[in-house]
Amino acid sequence: MSKISIGNKLALILIGLSVTVAGMLSWLFFIQFDTALQERVLLQLSSVKQLKINKVKTELNDRVSAFKELLSSTDSLSEESSLFSSISVEQEKPTSINDVSVTIQSKSQTGVIQLVDLTQTKGEITIGLVAQIDGSWLIAVSEIPEIQSILLERTGLGQTGESYLVGSDFKLKSRSRFTRKETVSSIQTEGVNNALLGSSGEGLILDYRGKEVFSAYEMIEMNGLQWVLLSEIDRQEALFPLEELKTNTAIIIALMLVFILLVSYFLSRLFVSPLILMEKKLTNMSKGVLQEAGEGGKRKDEIGRMFEALDKLVSALNKTIIYAGEIGQGNFNAEYEPLSDDDKLGNALIQMKQKLRQFQENEEKLIQENQKSIIDGQEHERSRLAKEMHDGIGPMLTTMRINIQSAELDTSKKETLLNRLDETITEVRRISNNLMPSVLEDFGAGEAIGNLINQVRQGFNGTIHYKNDMSAEPKLDEYANVSLYRIAQESINNALKHAVANEIKVSLSEFDDHIGYFIADNGQGFDMQVPKNGNGLRNMKERVKLVNGTFDIHSNASGTTIEIEIPLK
């Protein structure tokens, strides 16, 4: 069952439901119709039978009345009566009339008319009227073709209906519509039996042909004559409308099935095609392809809302994807609003971002600290070396100088040695100074930069201006102090080596919260977009970053300016 597609399920349900309903309705309707039809047929047969019985009785009464008249005027026996084919008077009680043996009640009183059936041939209904009068018997024979006419009157009996008379001897008296020959000798059907027992009635019974018929039967009893009149109609014909109904119902059910199939096809298209579309989209989504719901979203019903929900899901996922992408690209400033408190993916991403950011910050901090400690170590090493040379080798050389001065040597030789030694001392001082000027430590970057500029001024074909606005008390810590000096050293060096300038302006300004360093040259400038081979600029930026300072550089054809601010802690 679960493997059947929704479309087929829908069709099955619709067909099942409608067939059941149609079947039950048809059956109920059929039963009702059947009952009503049978009742109607029997009622009709009953009234036809009653009508015919009345007519037959009228005919018989006519004969009886005429016979009475005859009795009352026996003197005119010779008078011909149109109703009787023969009239005779017998002295003895007759045992047969017209060769038909009859049974006459002998105890009957004078004037009591007895009727006897004299019919010999079907359709030629003949009765005999017998009455005892003054010890003799008056006998009249009457043929009654009217009765046959009455019975043949087929109004209300359709194609197969008939009315017929059966005598108490179970013999058919009227002509049968169905059997011309004398094949039926005795008719002992249920109707005849019932009627002869005195009960009139109607019902579905088997007639003398053995066919199922609707039958209404009643006994005609008059003056000793016992006849049974039956009005019958074939069941087949009577219930023909029922057969028609069956056929029509079958056609209607068949048409309904076709209609339902079509409807279920369209319904399933209506409901199933968006589901199939949804399935495709969800399958795609499971592969990571996100797309909008498209035309499905135009509907306003539950399916439309489903697509709306899908759209929401897609846009939410897209947002999440964009966010994840931003994180992936290292943009930890990307913002994301969780879809709800239960947005586990979103919250996990936010947490991931925070962790990554923290990690990155820690890493940056660590890297910065590492760089700082490397640079610091380097500077300390330089400082140590500079001091060793200045305070270690320097005094040794000066000691040697004193020793030479004290030595007993010839003056010119002494002069040469002292000059050589002075050169050496100057060189040691220069190297030491280059490594790390002692002024930097003892008097601060402002003074050290001043000394540096004084040194380079001699080899520069132009003017260098220097304004030192630093207070006598060094405010920068040792690290920032050295950094500022190195930055200045690098920038001055760059201006001298690369700028092709004839004027360089350097200034150092002290503020409450920061130290500003500014250098401008009127040289050729450089293209800031083109990366430089040297590490100069990068080192400067790095140093500034490590003291949490700001670095601004501008360069064009009329020169380069660099402005640095170092915060005071």
Binding site: H390, P395, R401, S406, D442, N454, Y466, D469, D512
Partner: protein, 209 residues
């Protein structure tokens, strides 16, 4: 006059020895003591009297210039000559401020050394031409009186009062425009005024311009 009593304070023993043997040749000098640190010198001075101390700047413990400052308060008659490897003007200026009477670099000639000791011993100051130059260059900056406004600020103020724009001032003072702006704001803060016009008025009132 009896011979000049000299104390040598230097952390390098070989240098001290060399100096002693160099100076001993001169009959007018007497090396009365030697110290290998500033702190040792201060101890020594409690028991030993001298006329002149030859002192190095860079020594373990208390820095030579600080020793001079302290000793000058305790022994006003004691004269100090700085004898150092440092050949930068800043040290010279600081030495003078600390109370040194003379300043020599260690590779000074024997004659110069003797001349310095002799000059200082009679209460004169000794700075050769080279040292004098270093000193003057640096003194020029140091001597700027600490007014309410800094030197740079006064410069900026003057230029502002002349009607120069920030850009022009920046160009003239070799600083960035932003620095000029910062100076201007700082001055307004210091003189407790709200705008440039008030600043000039107030500065004029204070006779700063």
């Amino acid at each position: 006059m009896s011979s000049i009593k000299v104390i040598i304070a230097d952390d390098h023993q070989l240098f001290r020895e060399g100096l002693i043997s160099l100076l001993s040749k001169s009959g007018s000098l007497e090396i009365v003591a030697e110290a290998e640190s500033g702190d040792q010198l201060l101890d020594l001075l409690k028991t030993t009297t001298a006329h002149v101390v030859l002192i190095d700047i860079s020594m373990p413990g208390t820095n030579g210039l600080e020793v001079i400052r302290q000793a000058r308060e305790l022994y006003p008659d004691l004269k100090f000559i700085v004898l150092t490897m440092h050949a930068e003007g800043q040290y010279v200026v600081k030495a003078v401020k600390s109370g040194a009477f003379g300043y020599l670099v260690k590779n000074a000639d024997e004659n110069e050394l003797l001349a310095a000791i002799n000059e200082v011993a009679i209460g004169k100051k000794y700075f050769n031409s080279e040292i004098s130059e270093l000193m003057i260059t640096n003194m020029a900056i140091e001597e700027e009186a600490h007014k309410k406004l800094s030197e740079r600020e006064t410069e900026v103020l003057n230029l502002v009062s002349e009607g120069k724009t920030t850009k022009e001032i920046a160009a003239q003072l070799f600083v960035s425009a932003r620095t000029v702006e910062t100076h201007r704001v700082n001055m307004m803060k210091k003189l407790n005024v709200q705008n440039t016009a008030e600043l000039i008025k107030r500065a004029a009132h204070l006779k700063l311009i």
